[in-house]
C-alpha cells in the first residue's frame, strides 16, 4: 500500500465527466484507424435501421386501443362510453379505435401530438382525473381541446375514413342527405360542427354553438 489515498488524488465527478467528454470528442472527430470504411458505413446503416424501426415500433405500441385503455382513466370513462356507440360495434364490424380519431395519421402531426400527450402522462401520474367525479368536472375542458383540434384540421381524423367524395347521399336518410348537401359539400361546416358527442358522452353544452 504505497499509493496515496485515492480520494485525495481523484478529481471531482464533474471534472472527470468533462475530461471523458473531451476525450470522447477527440476520438469522434478523428478518422478511424481500425475499422474499414465499409464496416462503418454498413454498421451505421444497420444501427440506423434498428434504431428507427425500434422507435417506430415503440411509437406504434403507444398507438393502440390496448395501450390507451391500460390506464383506468381511459378504460372506465371514455372507453366505456365508446362501447355503446356506432364507432365500436356496428353492422359491418369496422371499429374506430382510440388513435384513429385522437392521433393524427400524418407522421409530423403524430409526433407533435405524441409530445403533447406527455402532459397526459403527467396528468396520470398526479391523478388529474383519477376519479369519475374529477373526470366529469374536467370533461368540458378536455372536450373543448378535442373539438378545437378537429375544427383546426377540418375534421381530418373523421375524413381519414369518411370522405365527402365517396359519400353516396342517396343511401342516406333524407335528413342526413339534406344536411350534408347544404353544409358539408359547400364547406360551410366541418364534421365536428354537427357531430359532437358521437363517440363519448357530452359535457355541459350550454354556450356551445348549435346547442342549447
Amino acid at each position: 500500500m504505497n499509493t496515496a489515498d485515492p480520494k485525495a488524488e481523484r478529481p471531482g465527478l464533474v471534472k472527470r465527466a468533462w475530461l471523458f467528454a473531451v476525450e470522447l470528442w477527440a476520438v469522434l472527430i478523428g478518422p478511424s484507424a481500425v475499422f474499414a470504411l465499409g464496416a462503418l458505413v454498413l454498421g451505421g446503416f444497420t444501427a440506423g435501421v434498428i434504431f428507427w424501426g425500434g422507435f417506430n415500433t415503440a411509437l406504434e405500441m403507444t398507438n393502440t386501443e390496448t395501450f390507451c385503455t391500460s390506464c383506468h382513466e381511459m378504460r372506465d370513462n371514455v372507453f366505456a362510453e365508446l362501447k355503446s356507440t356506432v364507432h365500436f360495434t356496428n353492422r359491418s364490424g369496422v371499429r374506430a379505435s382510440c388513435p384513429d380519431c385522437h392521433v393524427p395519421h400524418n407522421w409530423t402531426d403524430k409526433i407533435a401530438r405524441k409530445m403533447q400527450a406527455s402532459k397526459e402522462v403527467w396528468g396520470h401520474l398526479f391523478g388529474f382525473i383519477d376519479t369519475r367525479e374529477k373526470f366529469v368536472d374536467k370533461r368540458l375542458e378536455l372536450a373543448l381541446h378535442e373539438w378545437a383540434r378537429f375544427k383546426a384540421n377540418d375534421s381530418l381524423e373523421c375524413r381519414n375514413c369518411h370522405s365527402a367524395q365517396s359519400m353516396d347521399i342517396t343511401k342516406q336518410s333524407p335528413r342526413a342527405a339534406v344536411a350534408h348537401e347544404r353544409f358539408l359539400f359547400t364547406g360551410e361546416k366541418t364534421c365536428i360542427d354537427c357531430h359532437k358527442g358521437i363517440a363519448h358522452r357530452l359535457p355541459d353544452m350550454r354556450g356551445i354553438p348549435g346547442w342549447q
Partner: protein
C-alpha cells in the same frame, strides 16, 4: 248422498280440466306455441322508420311521433340532442319543426323564455316508430271519420 256425489263430480271435473289445460299447448298470435311458463325467443329488432316525413296525428293532443332515427341521441342534464335542431333558434339551419310553444309553459301556465324543465325530456312523450307488422290489427277510428259517419250522408 246427492251432495257428496256433486262434490266428487266437481273435483273430478276440475282435475280433468286442469289436466287438459296443462297438457294442451296454448297457441296465441303473440306468444306462438311457447308454453305459458316458458319464455320464447325474442323477436328480431326492427328497423326504425327514418323517412323524416311527418306522420298524421291520431287525435289533436297526440304528441307527434318522431319520423327519424334517434340512435345515440343524448338527452340529459348536460345536453339535449333533439334541441340542436328543434330549438327555436336552430330551426333556421335545420328546417326542423320548432318545439311547440306549449313546451315553454310552466305548470302555472306562465310562458318561459325557453323550454320549461318539465318538458325537457323529449322521449317521455315523443317516440320513434318501428317498421313492423303489428301482430294484432288496430281498429282505431279517428274523430274525423267518426264525425263524418254520424253526419247525414256520411256513409255515401
Amino acid at each position: 248422498m246427492i251432495r257428496q256425489t256433486a262434490i266428487i263430480l266437481l273435483v273430478a271435473a276440475i282435475a280433468a280440466g286442469t289436466g287438459t289445460l296443462a297438457a294442451k299447448t296454448l297457441t296465441s298470435g303473440l306468444r306462438g306455441p311457447t308454453p305459458l311458463d316458458d319464455e320464447g325467443p325474442a323477436p328480431p329488432m326492427t328497423p326504425t322508420r327514418n323517412t323524416s316525413e311527418k306522420e298524421v296525428r291520431n287525435y289533436p293532443e297526440q304528441p307527434p311521433v318522431i319520423p327519424h332515427s334517434i340512435d345515440g341521441y343524448q338527452i340529459d342534464l348536460n345536453s339535449n340532442k333533439c334541441l340542436s335542431c328543434h330549438a327555436r333558434a336552430r330551426t333556421g339551419e335545420s328546417q326542423a319543426p320548432m318545439v311547440s310553444i306549449t313546451h315553454f309553459m310552466d305548470r302555472d301556465g306562465q310562458f318561459l323564455a325557453s323550454i320549461s324543465p318539465r318538458r325537457f325530456f323529449c322521449t317521455e312523450c315523443h317516440v320513434p316508430q318501428s317498421v313492423t307488422n303489428p301482430p294484432i290489427s288496430n281498429d282505431f277510428v279517428d274523430i274525423d271519420t267518426l264525425l263524418s259517419r254520424a253526419a247525414p250522408g256520411g256513409r255515401r
